[in-house]
């Protein structure tokens, strides 16, 4: 049995399949759906987790982010044009979390002031964030020019700031920003550092560290210059709000602690913030959620794949049994002309493999499109892993082998004389 024999047999198999086009196509469908589901299963299983995995990688697995949120009820009183609203996280909350939860490694509060900057006659909208030195550690902020805020800056409430890469390029496109001054509203800050460009991440888990037009200054300096009351003037109304802490970056000590810490923080805040003026974001929880979603999709598609392949395999076996019966006389002729049992076995097995492989190849295309359809109708993400494209033909060949073996064996075992007498 040599290469040309195999090629001839494959050609013969294709010829015979083309002889019964409809029957072949119908039988390929089962394999097609089965293989397609396998690929879709792997693609969605992979994709559903991927985004969350990337986010966890970016933010760190032990991170918990708290945000202050303007409660809905407060927003209702829009009649008065200038009413002060007070909401959000407080410095007291920060202290409580840091002190009562031993599994918390660090709590970093962030206060935000949104101001306009005028530079060479151009207006820029910018956010000035007041925080503490450890902010750089928890958000992985790295200075590419100059330095990060130092302890002395905090102790003396120095009016210094560190700019994001994007902001530095906007304000100082040619010169270095170091040593320059930037005026936020009425207050002037000296630039001591520029951060490296941040790689863009998903929409989830965004924080002060992802603000392109951002500057970071000691919390003490910010409070001294702007107080704890934010005033936002828009044409026709003045928004006055009092928010102590806009955002808190929290790190748990161990990954295993994260879920428990998040639960404790939620319990704690529920008691002191009945109006629900905050939100808690836990990347690790998102990942667990995504993994659960991926698991469900995997189970569903594995069932679809299994059933399709089983039905497809039975269909192929059925067709091959019919083929073998139809071609009993051909078997007799071939045996009379010198074919061994093995020749006959391989001939029908190859035919079955050709049938399922054709279904498998179409299944790859189907499996590639299926996740796109799922993506279109749901927010499930999909990423087809490369190995899935090789696995699929393998699966279809296996099905072809399993379902073709019995019919081929039956053909090979025929008595030549009986087969020749067959009408």
């Amino acid at each position: 049995m040599n290469l040309f024999w195999i090629l001839r047999t494959i050609r013969l198999g294709m010829k015979n399949l083309l002889l019964h086009k409809l029957r072949s196509v119908l039988n390929m469908l089962g394999i097609l759906f089965g293989v397609g589901s396998v690929i879709a299963m792997l693609a969605i299983g992979e994709g559903a987790k991927w985004e969350a995995q990337e986010m966890v990688k970016r933010l760190g697995p032990t991170t918990i982010i708290l945000y202050s949120q303007k409660p809905v009820e407060v927003d209702e009183s829009t009649t008065s044009t200038s009413r002060m609203v007070e909401y959000g996280l407080t410095f007291l909350d920060m202290d409580r979390i840091a002190e009562t939860l031993p599994a918390v490694k660090v709590v970093v509060p962030v206060r935000k002031v949104s101001k306009e900057i005028w530079m060479r006659g151009v207006k820029y909208e910018a956010n000035l964030f007041g925080t503490i030195p450890r902010y750089a550690n928890v958000t992985n902020a790295q200075a590419v020019e100059g330095r990060w805020l130092a302890s002395l800056d905090f102790e003396h409430s120095r009016p210094v700031c560190v700019l994001t890469y994007e902001m530095a390029r906007q304000l100082f496109p040619i010169r270095s920003a170091l040593g320059e001054t930037v005026q936020f509203g009425d207050a002037v800050f000296t630039v001591v550092g520029v951060l490296e460009r941040r790689r863009g991440g998903s929409s989830k888990g965004k924080s002060s560290a992802d603000e392109p037009m951002g500057a970071y200054t000691p919390l003490s300096a910010l409070r001294e210059r702007f107080g704890d009351i934010n005033i936002r003037q828009t044409p026709g109304s003045t928004d006055i709000s009092r928010v102590e802490v806009h955002e808190a970056q929290i790190k748990a000590r161990e990954i295993d602690d994260v879920i428990a810490v998040a639960r404790n923080i939620r319990t704690m805040l529920e008691k002191t913030h009945e109006q629900g003026d905050y939100s808690v974001f836990v990347p690790l929880e998102e990942l667990r959620l995504a993994e659960a979603t991926a698991r469900i999709w995997t189970i569903v598609l594995a069932c679809v794949a299994g059933i399709s392949l089983l039905v497809g395999g039975i269909g192929v076996m059925n067709v091959m049994l019919a083929t073998v019966t139809e071609r009993t006389r051909e078997v007799g002729i071939r045996r009379a002309l010198g074919a061994t049992q093995q020749h006959i076995l391989s001939q029908f097995l190859v035919e079955s493999l050709v049938l399922t492989l054709a279904g498998g190849i179409l299944g790859v295309a189907f499996g590639y499109l299926l996740p796109e359809v799922v993506k279109f109708f749901t927010d499930v993400k999909a990423r087809t892993p490369l190995y899935a494209l090789f696995l699929a033909p393998g699966i279809s060949l296996l099905v072809g082998l399993l379902s073709g073996l019995y019919p081929a064996w039956k053909a090979a075992g025929m008595d030549p004389v009986e087969a020749l007498r067959h009408e």
Binding site: A336, L337, G338, H343, V417, L420
Partner: protein, 237 residues
């Protein structure tokens, strides 16, 4: 020893608790290059004997030695090998493979010998030319007349250069003109030194053979040379 040597060859079929004796004690010596005719009524065991001679079947009792090899003891694979190398079959119903072209049909025996495609194609064309089918190489069997189909079958039977050509009612499905054409091809083959065994129920067709054997109920009823048969005047050509 002769090319085909049969002693006490039996082929019995067990049907429930009765036994059908399709062949019952056949002794034969067929020499290389001889032209034999096996005649007998339908059901007399002609096809059964031919299938045994062609190694498609094995005797239930007795000895069959083909070309010095005792084939009654060979494995299925070994029998396939013997068929592939030494036997050429021609059937009543032509038995061409419908999905293959004329050329491909002729190539089938070479395919099982592992002959490479260029060589097997060359030989198939050579044989097709010999039976006058060069124009029809790429036609399907269904596009040919009965006589043409049988000529394809003859080409196929000869392509592996067999020691014995076995024809079972080879002209049974053909009109008399075509029958004569086929018989002429047989004569030609005989002239080339092939051993030919022609099975027929029609006594008239035995006139080309050197030896005529008549079977009845699985036994040899008579065995004569051409001259003896003519002298007996049993049939008039």
């Amino acid at each position: 020893m002769s090319l085909a040597y049969l002693r006490g060859v039996c082929r019995h079929y067990r049907m429930g608790n009765s036994v059908v004796r399709a062949l019952d004690g056949i002794d034969l010596d067929i020499e290389t290059g001889e032209y034999w005719a096996i005649q007998g009524r339908s059901g007399s065991g002609k096809s059964t004997l031919l299938n045994l001679l062609g190694c498609l079947d094995r005797p239930t009792a007795g000895t069959y030695v083909l070309d010095g090899v005792d084939v009654s003891a060979l494995s299925d694979d070994a029998l396939s090998h013997v068929r592939s190398r030494s036997i050429g079959f021609i059937f009543q119903s032509f038995n061409l493979i419908p999905q293959l072209t004329v050329e491909e049909n002729i190539e089938v025996p070479l395919f099982y010998q592992g002959v490479a495609p260029p060589e097997s194609r060359r030989r198939a064309r050579e044989l097709a030319a010999r039976v006058g089918l060069t124009e029809r190489l790429h036609h399907r069997p269904t596009e040919l007349s009965g006589g043409q189909q049988q000529r394809v079958a003859i080409a196929r039977a000869l392509v592996n250069d067999p020691a014995i050509v076995l024809a079972d009612e080879a002209t049974g499905n053909l009109d008399s003109a075509t029958e004569n054409e086929i018989l002429a091809v047989m004569d030609q083959l005989h002239g080339m030194g092939k051993t030919i065994i022609l099975v027929t129920h029609n006594a008239a067709l035995t006139r080309h053979a050197e030896k005529v054997m008549v079977l009845a109920d699985g036994r040899i009823e008579s065995l004569r040379t051409r001259a003896e048969a003519d002298a007996a005047g049993e049939e008039v050509p």
